[in-house]
């Protein structure tokens, strides 16, 4: 069994008296693609934000590589890359400037050639590279953020609704990329409500409903998770 990279241990998050996450437990090993499925307000984004150290847990713990995120936030953040649902990069900078800036902040300066190669890898058209991001479509911004995440060479990727707003071709390219990264040993944690996409790339899927994991699916050896079963469980609100 490979090492545990991501672990939610009786994770509870409350805002005031409202419980957002309640006793959430899951584990992702190195190279796993763990997808958390759930409807709007299920607590998916809260789970990601807790693992990124943006929201403190009220009980239990969110751990990355055995370290409690809230006690070692800066240390943990060095190991992760994050792709938010709505890509938050600077509109006044072009793709290359954005990437270069964030890499400099993360103390990972990279050569121009590597940046170009990565942008090509995520299929962002070269004619768009020098345009300010404010003029990009959501898909193009998503690709830029993916390129940035890849260039950070982080062993753990957190993806928040990564395919929302992408066209079918881009979704396909993205799924291929996730599979490829997973094969390289990158652990990926994604939250989505795209059942088919999740089943296609993830080897573990958790169903989140009202802040609780109501079901967990594991892919068989060399196979994909049964889309039908997940879809039914998702439609029924969990518990197949």
């Amino acid at each position: 069994m490979s090492e545990i990279v991501i672990q939610a241990d009786n994770l509870c998050v409350a805002v005031g008296s409202k419980k957002i996450l309640n006793n959430v437990n899951f584990i992702a090993h190195k190279g796993d693609v763990l997808a958390l499925l759930g409807g709007n307000g299920a607590g998916k984004s809260t789970t990601i934000k807790t693992f990124l150290g943006l929201i403190p847990p009220s009980l239990g713990s969110a751990q990355i590589l055995g370290q409690a995120v809230h006690q070692n936030t800066q240390l943990v953040r060095q190991k992760v890359a994050y792709l938010p649902e709505s890509v938050m990069l600077y509109g006044h900078l072009n793709a290359i400037e954005n990437i270069r800036y964030f890499l400099s902040l993360g103390k990972k300066p990279t050569s121009e050639q590597v940046i170009h190669a990565t942008l090509e890898k995520v299929a962002l058209q070269p004619q768009a590279w020098q345009r300010p991001l404010g003029e990009y479509s959501k898909g193009m911004r998503q690709k830029t953020a993916i390129a940035l995440a890849l260039l950070r060479e982080a062993p753990i990727l957190f993806l928040d609704e990564p395919t929302s707003g992408l066209d079918p071709v881009a979704i396909d390219e993205f799924n291929q990329l996730v599979t490829q990264l997973s094969a390289q040993g990158v652990t990926i944690f994604m939250v989505t409500h795209d059942v088919y996409g999740a089943c296609h790339v993830a080897n573990r899927i958790g169903l989140l409903r009202d802040g609780e994991i109501v079901d967990m699916f594991n892919a068989p050896e060399n196979g994909n998770i049964d889309t039908e079963a997940v879809h039914v469980a998702f439609a029924q609100g969990g518990r197949t």
Partner: protein, 477 residues
């Protein structure tokens, strides 16, 4: 660490360069700063040359007077001019509001006249466009426009959390943005610093000039911290901008007015008319110095007659009229000085009360520090008035001495009877060389620095407080 801060600061500058509003404002502020330094420097230099020239001219005109009765020269009078100190080219202080020269004559202690304010249009109460005005009032406004969105922009765009995940802690982000904001402030400050170096070449003392510049750097740091604090605590750009604009209005416009109003309430001082009447009442008790037969001088007459063992004042070896003029001037000056000192003390007490508001407003603290270090504050003005009075008393008494010793009582009493007597009642024109070269210089640098301890401490405390609060606010977001 430094590399990350520089990276954030560089990006902020890139944002400003690409945002036309910020860039345009920065250019306008820079032009304004350069223009104000150039214009004020030129005008103050001209003013200094003019006042020095007029001082020489006044001395020359006095010395060039023909043979005259000494008391006519007492009333002919003399002018002294206040030469502006070198740093006044950056902060003219109260110079435009107070007079630049004093007419010195017998029996009167005149106030300073010919202030820029008295000679200009009514709108000049708003303040002249001096470099100090640009730095104290306009630079914070520019920094607000440039920096109000420093943190809220990140929050609104959603990049704040994204940056955190990249390992950039909010205090780091604030420090990086602060570095950019401070550098923008220093850019506008650079013509001011060049002006200070120019003043240094023109005779300003190094230590006072250095402290003068340090106080302005502290002021820029305080405003940069305040802007970042407001931007960190505000939910969005609009809230940040409006809160900072209100803060600027309160700190730069409202509090200075409240300070001066409070000072006049706390330290009440009588009006000019009231004071003038009180002075007049006291002076009436002294008797008429022009009239040696005034009963007020009968004791003096008796003592002199006894001293020289003569029966009549005509037999005295000195001119009794001159002695009366001397004694009368001394008594009169004592009373005038008492009132004047009281008035100056009241003004000083009011200024001291107003200065305490510097603990609340950096604008008040910098105004005081700047004027004190430049030598253009109230204390220096009072020094000028005192020095002018010393010159007045000295030259009037010198003339009275001439009157007592060089003009006989008989000639003096009969000077209008015939041409011959009138001529004998005059003294030789060479006696008019009694005036020393008057050149007003502000307090020595170490004295000015020591006097500006309070506003400098206020600036330092406000800086530490703002930095501390901003840092803790950054840690909590």
């Amino acid at each position: 660490m430094i590399a990350t801060l520089l990276c954030i600061a560089r990006d902020e500058w890139r944002y400003w360069r690409r945002s036309r509003l910020a860039l345009s404002l920065l250019i306008i502020a820079l032009i304004l700063a350069i223009a104000s330094v150039f214009v004020t420097h030129t005008s103050m230099q001209l003013e200094a040359e003019q006042r020095t020239h007029l001082q020489t001219l006044a001395q020359q005109k006095f010395a060039d007077q023909p043979d005259r009765h000494p008391h006519r020269m007492v009333h002919y009078g003399h002018y002294v001019f206040r030469a502006p100190p070198p740093l006044s080219s950056l902060d003219p202080g109260i110079d435009p509001f107070t007079g630049t020269s004093v007419f010195l004559e017998g029996h009167r202690r005149n106030g300073a006249t010919f202030s820029e304010q008295q000679q200009s249009s009514g709108l000049s109460w708003l303040g002249t466009l001096s470099p100090a005005f640009v730095m104290q009032l306009l630079t914070p406004l520019l920094l607000i426009v440039m920096g109000y969105g420093a943190m809220t922009r990140e929050r609104e765009a959603g990049t704040f959390d994204f940056l955190k995940v990249q390992g950039i802690t909010p205090p780091y982000l604030i420090a990086g943005k602060g570095l950019a904001l401070i550098s923008a402030g220093l850019l506008v400050f650079s013509p001011f610093a060049i002006g200070a170096i120019w003043a240094l070449i023109n005779g300003a003392e190094g230590s006072a000039t250095a402290m003068f510049l340090v106080s302005y750097v502290l002021y820029i740091l305080i405003w940069s911290s305040l802007i970042l604090l407001a931007s960190t605590l505000s939910a969005n750009n609009a809230a940040s901008f409006s809160s900072l604009t209100c803060l600027w209005i309160v700190l730069c416009l409202v509090l200075p007015r409240i300070a001066s109003n409070t000072a006049t309430v706390v330290v009440a001082s009588p009006g000019k008319l009231e004071t003038d009447f009180a002075v007049l009442q006291e002076l009436r008790k002294l008797g008429d110095g022009h009239n040696s037969n005034d009963p007020a001088f009968s004791a003096l007459k008796s003592s002199l007659l006894a001293k020289y063992e003569v029966d009549k004042i005509e037999d005295l070896p000195v001119n009794f009229k001159g002695i009366v003029a001397q004694k009368s001037e001394a008594k009169l000056t004592k009373i005038l000085n008492q009132f004047s000192e009281k008035q100056m003390q009241e003004a000083q007490d009011q200024a001291n009360v107003a200065r305490q508001f510097g603990w609340l407003s950096p604008a008040i603290a910098i105004q005081n520090a700047s004027m004190k270090l430049a030598g253009t504050d109230l204390e220096n003005y009072h020094r000028f008035l005192r020095e002018a009075e010393a010159v007045r008393f000295s030259f009037v008494q010198s003339l009275n001495k001439l009157h007592a010793e060089n003009v006989s009582y008989t000639d003096d009493a009969n000077k209008y009877k015939d041409h011959e007597t009138h001529h004998r009642a005059k003294v030789d024109a060479k006696n008019w060389q009694i005036l020393d070269n008057f050149h007003f210089t502000p307090l020595a640098a170490d004295q000015r620095i020591s006097n500006s301890q309070l506003p400098l401490t206020q600036l330092l405390m406000l800086f530490l407080l703002c930095c501390g609060v901003t840092f803790f606010a950054g840690k909590r977001v």
